[in-house]
């Protein structure tokens, strides 16, 4: 925007129309206002000359304003003058004074022919005085537009907020009620005490020049402020005394890593054949003494079947101790898939009374038992296994380790198939009581 000082300068230039030639004034404008201010100055003038009825400026001032608007961009093609449409409008405004239209037309015409600048050598007042309507013709708007606007420039993106803005200046004449504000009686007369409602035009023009906003006044969009998120539960940090955590000494340093070797040896033996009671007891004692020994005794899931077959009691103890181990499921898988035998059943039975086995595991195991019984050809061995399975199942059921209903049908069929065996009949009766 133009500051106070520049507004004053501009106003003085406008007011020089009576004496100085237009050319001089335009030259002054170019020297006093650097090119960076030209646009601001011109748009201010544009505003001041917007309404020919408004009489903000007197006729000579208007002419000078047009001249400045035009000459500020005279070095370029008329079509690139940002105010070209305004000038064309002024030239074609039917309500405007004829001399003004003629002047603007001459201005527009001057840019084509450099020799046609004579009219600028006189003052604006002289131009009006010597104005001869007959020597001027007023072409149609379309014609003028075609001649000077040239190709329509592609409009740069313009936000509709700005495009639709109105001037931020509202006339608010302060005159007594009922008076016509356009009346000349309110013009301040030099040397006369001002009466109510009178005002100085120049003062207003200067004020307007400095207050005019390029952006104007547009509709306002309310952008609600996003609210601050309330403090969340637990966001404020409550502090509690800590439990102390100290650095640890590594007692494994240079330690006798041989510990438990005896057990490892015994376990290795136990894979090959039954241990004598003393040896068995030694293993159990050592395992009991050291809960972690079981992880270092050299047993792997693959070796489990051998241990089960040869030393079921040790297998039980080892498995119980391994129950928290990540490998336990692997051990279970091996156990459920190994060949059915008295010892494996014994191991499972004992496990059921000490730790909770996965239900799936138990069900699979029971199914395996049953199919094993059915698969045996040797009748004696079959009877033996069936009796064993029956006792095993009764124990599971009585101890409520399995839910009878989960396996009811399968077991019932099994009992019926082997009803000749007393234990099977007993199991059947047990099932009936639970039904």
């Amino acid at each position: 925007m133009l500051g106070f000082e520049d507004s004053g300068k501009l106003l003085r230039l406008l007011s020089g129309g009576e004496e100085r030639s237009i050319e001089e004034i335009v030259f002054d404008f170019n020297s006093k206002f650097p090119p960076s201010l030209h646009f601001y100055a011109c748009s201010a003038l544009d505003f001041l000359t917007a309404n020919s009825k408004e009489e903000l400026l007197n006729p000579t001032q208007r002419l000078i304003a047009f001249a400045i608007i035009h000459q500020a961009y005279a070095s370029q093609q008329p079509s690139s003058n940002p105010f070209i449409t305004k000038l064309v409008d002024a030239a074609c405004d039917d309500e405007a004074e004829k001399y003004e239209r003629a002047f603007v037309l001459q201005l527009l015409g001057s840019s084509n022919m450099m020799n046609n600048r004579e009219f600028l050598k006189q003052s604006a007042a002289d131009y009006m005085k010597h104005f001869d309507l007959s020597s001027h013709s007023f072409p149609q708007r379309e014609h003028v537009q075609q001649q000077y606007c040239g190709k329509v420039q592609p409009e740069p993106f313009k936000c509709s907020f700005k495009e639709n803005s109105v001037k931020n200046i509202i006339p608010d004449p302060d005159v007594p009620h009922g008076c016509n504000s356009n009346s000349h009686e309110f013009d301040a007369q030099p040397g006369v005490t001002s009466k109510l409602g009178s005002g100085n035009r120049d003062e207003t023009v200067a004020g307007l020049l400095s207050s005019l906003s390029l952006e104007g006044l547009g509709p306002q969009w309310i952008r609600p402020f996003p609210p601050r998120l309330p403090v969340m539960d637990g966001e404020l940090l409550w502090l509690n005394p800590d439990m102390n955590h100290e650095l640890l000494w590594d007692y494994g340093m240079c330690a006798d890593t041989s510990r438990g070797a005896a057990v490892r040896d015994l376990i290795a033996k136990a894979l090959k054949g039954p241990l004598v009671p003393v040896q068995q007891e030694q293993v159990l004692v050592e395992l009991a003494n050291d809960p972690k020994l079981v992880y270092h005794c050299g047993l792997t899931p693959k070796k489990l079947p051998d241990l089960v077959e040869n030393n079921p009691m040790i297998a039980v103890e080892v498995l119980i101790k391994l129950v928290n181990s990540p490998e336990i499921s692997e051990y279970f898988t091996v156990l459920v898939n190994m060949e059915m035998s008295l010892h494996s059943m014994e191991v499972v039975n004992r496990l059921t009374t000490t730790i909770e086995l996965p239900t799936e595991f138990l069900h699979t195991y029971i199914s395996n038992c049953i199919s094993a019984c059915q698969g045996i050809k040797d009748r004696y061995m079959q009877n033996r296994l069936v009796r064993l399975v029956c006792v095993f199942l009764q124990s599971l059921i009585r101890n409520k380790i399995i839910n009878v209903h989960d396996i009811f049908i399968e077991v019932q069929a099994f009992c019926i198939e082997f009803s000749r065996i007393r234990e099977a009949a007993g199991l059947f009766r047990l099932l009936k009581t639970l039904e």
Partner: protein, 814 residues
Amino acid sequence: MDSASSSLAYVSREGSPTEEEDDGALLVAAGLAKEAALLFQAGKFVDCLTILNHLLEKKADDSKVHHNIAIAQSFHEGCSDPRRLIEALENVKKQSEKLALASGGDLEVSKNNGNKHTVSIRGSNMSAHQFSSSSVRYSDEFDTAVTMFNLAVIWFHLHEYAKSFSYLETLYQNIEPIGEGTALRICLLLLDVALLSHHASRSADVISYMEKVFCVNSLTNQVDSGTSTEQQTLLVSNSSSFISNSTTNFDSVVSTTTNPSESCLTRSLSEEALEDEPLQLLSSFDISRHNLQRPSIASSNDLPSLSVADLRLKLHLYKVRFFILTRNLKAAKREVKMAMNIDHPMALYLKSQLEYARGNHRKAIKLLMASSSNCMETGVGISSMYYNNLGCVYYRLGKYHTSGVFFTKALKSSSLVRKEKPPKLVTFSQDKSLLITYNCGAYSLACGKPFHAARCFQMASLIFYNQPLLWLRIAECCLMALEKGLINSISSASDIIRVNVIGKGKWRQLALRYGRDNVGKDNLFSSDGKQPHLSMSLAWQCLVNALYLLDSLETDYSKSEESESRETVLSNHKNGDPKEISNVVSGSSQVTSNGEMKEQKGGNNQSGWLQNTIPDYECIRMKEKQMIKQAALADLAYVELELGNPLKALSTAKSLTKLPECSRVYTFLGTMYAAEALCLLNQTKEAAEHLMMYVSGGNNVDLPYSQEDCEKWSIEKVVDGEESNGVVSGKCVFSSPEEGRGTFCANYAANFALMGELDKAHYFVMKALSDMPNSSQAIVTAIYVDLKRGNTQDALAKLKHHTATRILPTLKLS
């Protein structure tokens, strides 16, 4: 156990003369190691280091020696430079791993069958007896469990919980083979870290695992100490005898089958035997329980002892913390009752925290006061916690200034902790200044001091950098600074309309100026080096951070869910999460006697409680994340508009409104931002379509949200506001539904004005003014519409009578 495992060492040692020397050297080393350990326990670090260095001469490559030197040194010097210690331990760890790799095949053999070390025992028959009193572990000499634990400890003390957690997690995944003392320490630390980093499900796992393994005592938990070994042998012989019993029973079943006449007997016999077993087991349990009052879980010369009873009480405290974390306040209350007789300052603090969480602020203060009379003398660390917690309570009471005073006090005493000499590792963890600084930030934000708040949050970001909420708060600081006009804004919104009166009399004109006058403001704040530089671009960065973290949290969550569901499948035990193992074990109670069963059942129920709490908690967390996300997206859309990026603002606002659980208030904000962005893009019609959702039956405008919708969000309940004067509270909650409707109408009007539908614009802007007569923006739109319609007089009347208008003195020509 045979040839397969005969390592080179085995072969070379067998019988050769150098072998004996080696054995001798080993024995000497073991002796030195023992001595060093004793000196370490006695706190004689200088002597200890001398011996360790001596040891190092013999075994220059032994990473454990290096490890213990680093530990002893840090105890000796006071841990002034934990980062250096971390580096040293990392090196030890790397070295161990390298050595383990180098001895590759060798080691594998030993891992599989544990045979490797067989050699050295041959000869000493005593070893079998010795080991019960020694604390030696069987792990390989390359085992890094202790090193990793120590690293976790240091990171814990440095408040780097994520780093600590990653070490502990690795250890926990394979905790079974680790020695009990160390395992217990690992669990306790993991529990602390998990709770502090709000990892509820892991906390619950560890608690139930500890209850199963360390508290429920079976024979296996009996360790060393002369007296107990005696008992044990007794027990074992007991058990082994019944084992042999049962064996014979089974055998008898089989043998009797050969004898049909007796077969009926076998049934009863075997069953009796089976039923008897639990009884026998029970009796052994009883003895062991009796026993357990004295001996500690941790082997005595390994770690300071911790009795089972102690551990139980500690676990109560942890459970209280767990329940408070997961907002299961009822359970926490129940747990607190059981934990109250613990003589630990934590107990009272926890009780106070519980009351704080339940909203009984007076009670919380009382408890804090009581605790302060107990433990004020225990150290400055405690006093800073005390002040900090009081600050929290007063904040919740809405007395922000009082809370600020307490937070400042807390910071002061916290800085005293830092100055304590000699520096110990624990002083780092006792220095809670960064945590308190965060609270300070929250208080400053509540009091409308965005620059101070931002400085606090930026300091706290050292430990909270991975918390989306922190970044949101910094962004809120920027927005608050913008709102207060403390930083530059390109938007034109302002509270007042400036009117310059130009000229006099008939020439009088009014020049409206609407928008901020920013001249000089930016110098005011950016020049001060102490002030953080708050700007919209900073806000943008912070919000992008917050949203990124929120999204990564979500994917983390779904991942962990996946893995959990995978783990629940029993057949997948292999994955080695000790958590499900606890499920397997839990059934063991069924066999034991009535009393025992009850206890156990109680225990089981509780771990069930723990697990059941988690879904609720996850639900709460999800909701909170949703809230944070909504706030962050709304802020981001606003910031994009401020930065002049309507396209990005549009997409952000759209993703806000598309959130599945977007509250009505945020839907409203999102719609407003999206519509504005569309208008800025000259898509007024699309904007109108967006806005249409709040218009029903032609020209009726509904309230965009209800009072209830607002209240749902204001968790911040101000109980009594005697001291809350000067607090900017109006802006931190939503504007009223009527204001919301007013805003909508004004914007709808502006949109119509842009489309040239001036009559509709007029209608809606008048509606807007009836909802919020003081809005400067609405009146400017109204004036604009009047001017556009040529009603200059109406425009002038509106301008002159509006409260936002400021008439400025007439400009005079200089």
